[in-house]
């Protein structure tokens, strides 16, 4: 029950997703459509589970008076506020939910990601070292592409964008294609191992 039933469920759903692609019969496609709707619903519950876990961990930090425990209160307050406002009053335009999305969630997330600009500059100065031929090749390609993608590259030399485009469409593309093919082979074999029950790590310990 604890491991066999989930493995059987995995095998059924996985096999059906593959069979569905090859068999166009309405019976198969109808059943496939139903299984896909079930998956959409279950994955949504997984998201809610994740949020419930955040709330649980926050509560534990408060009860244990862990480091920065006082900051868990604004976290839980923000969670409760958005949840209540979104569920009760809706999520469309001109709702309080939408206002806080656009003017609290959105700017904070955007700013947190924008911090990376500073860190990449710092890393470029402090950590980017051309210690070998391969590293120098990486740096030269990076510099040509960086100049080729912005207008200032054309001002320096009008052929820089042409060279940059060639790098992107020829050697870079070839290497990325190789990585893609390798990853595809890996993904196919892992998928097969999961469906056949050979790979069971996703079930966790017992």
């Amino acid at each position: 029950m604890k491991r066999e039933v989930p493995l059987i469920i995995t095998a059924i759903f996985g096999s059906f997703m593959v069979i569905d692609y090859f068999v166009p019969h309405p019976l198969v496609s109808g059943f496939g459509e139903m299984l896909q709707q079930w998956a959409i619903i279950v994955v949504a519950f997984a998201y809610v589970l994740g949020v419930a876990n955040i709330a649980r961990i926050s509560g534990e930090k408060i009860s244990r008076r862990s480091r920065d425990w006082r900051y868990q209160f604004p976290l839980l307050a923000g969670l409760a506020f958005m949840l209540t406002v979104g569920v009760v009053w809706g999520v469309g335009e001109r709702t309080l939910f939408n206002d806080f999305y656009l003017y609290a969630y959105s700017p904070m997330q955007g700013t947190m990601f924008s911090l990376l600009a500073f860190f990449i500059a710092s890393a470029a100065f402090r950590a980017f070292r051309m210690r070998s031929f391969e590293a120098a090749l990486l740096a030269i390609a990076a510099i040509i592409v960086m100049l080729g993608r912005v207008p200032v590259g054309t001002l320096i030399w009008d052929k820089i964008p042409v060279v940059s485009d060639w790098i992107m469409n020829v050697p870079q593309m070839a290497a990325k294609r190789a990585i893609m093919i390798g990853a595809a082979l890996g993904a196919i074999s892992t998928g097969l191992k999961v469906i056949l029950g050979i790979e069971r790590n996703y079930l966790g310990g017992d």
């Binding site: 896909q36 994955v43 999305y101 051309m130």
Partner: protein, 273 residues
């Protein structure tokens, strides 16, 4: 050099990026063939046709991708193409709503439900994509506001992705362009054009070369190129001067860092860890 206070570097980058925003230089933008491919594909869509607009990003990637969304919607609405928009990222629907209202309603006088629709968000990633190829009403029974899509004129005659002229995908990562190519383009052979963050763009060049993508917009530069093509100077065009100087600054940092490293190494002043 590891002891060098990185806050000075932060300050330099801040000033270098800020300066051209305060005093625009107006450097000319060159259009790449990948962006032209997307533009030409969208330009060929007959007026009155419907396209599926997959808005798969959230505020974290907004500076790069929202200008693309705005520029493409300008192109679509100016050609009287109807837009069926939806999101696979939970943070997407309000951004799509803002763009559709700003461009469709305020600029082109389009009507919600007749000329465009925001189907909202659906969880399930690849499952949703495959499901859309089979049946859009089953996947999205209601739009973002809870209205059954059967009541919306724009959804009449649209049963699945095979009933749209094209899919335009704006994506920030997973789920995104890669999954649209794998699960939809290769399965249902729908025309697909994509815009993505600059981080993801290099890995999608094989899809463009193979023809699985008819066009590819990469990052802020891609957005600026599309703005130039549609003749709408938006935030991407504005940001390209800052982008140019930012890149020069990074190149300078790399050069300076390596020069100092070699100099100190030669002088024997580098401390060994």
């Amino acid at each position: 050099m590891e002891r060098f206070d990185r806050r000075y570097i932060f300050l330099v980058i801040f000033v270098i990026v800020l300066f051209p925003l305060l005093m625009p230089i107006g450097l000319p933008i060159r259009v790449s063939k990948e962006a032209m491919g997307a533009y030409e594909a969208i330009d060929k869509i007959p007026p009155g046709s419907k396209i599926y607009f997959a808005c798969d990003y959230d505020p974290g990637s907004m500076p790069e991708l929202h200008p693309m969304t705005i520029a493409i919607l300008n192109h679509l609405f100016s050609h009287n193409v109807k837009v069926i928009g939806a999101c696979l990222w939970p943070g997407g629907p309000p951004l799509l709503e803002e763009a559709l209202n700003k461009v469709g309603v305020q600029k082109y006088g389009k009507k919600y439900g007749v000329d465009f629709v925001n189907l909202g968000y659906k969880e399930g990633r690849e499952v949703v994509m495959v499901s859309l190829g089979r049946s859009i009403p089953t996947t999205f029974p209601d739009d973002f506001y809870g209205t059954p899509i059967s009541q919306l004129p724009v959804m009449q005659g649209v049963r699945s992705l095979n009933d749209v002229a094209m899919i335009v995908n704006i994506s920030a990562g997973y789920p995104g362009t890669k999954e649209w190519v794998q699960q939809v383009q290769s399965r249902y052979h729908v025309i697909l054009a994509a815009g993505c963050t600059a981080v993801s763009a290099p890995e999608y060049y094989p899809y463009y070369q193979s023809g699985q993508l008819v066009g590819l917009l990469g990052g802020l530069a891609g957005a600026a190129e599309y703005e130039k093509l549609v003749g709408v100077a938006g935030t991407a065009t504005r940001g390209m001067d800052a982008q140019s100087l930012g890149h020069l600054a990074i190149i300078l940092f790399i050069a300076l860092g390596n020069f100092l490293y070699l100099y100190l190494k030669k002088k024997g002043k580098l401390t060994r860890r």
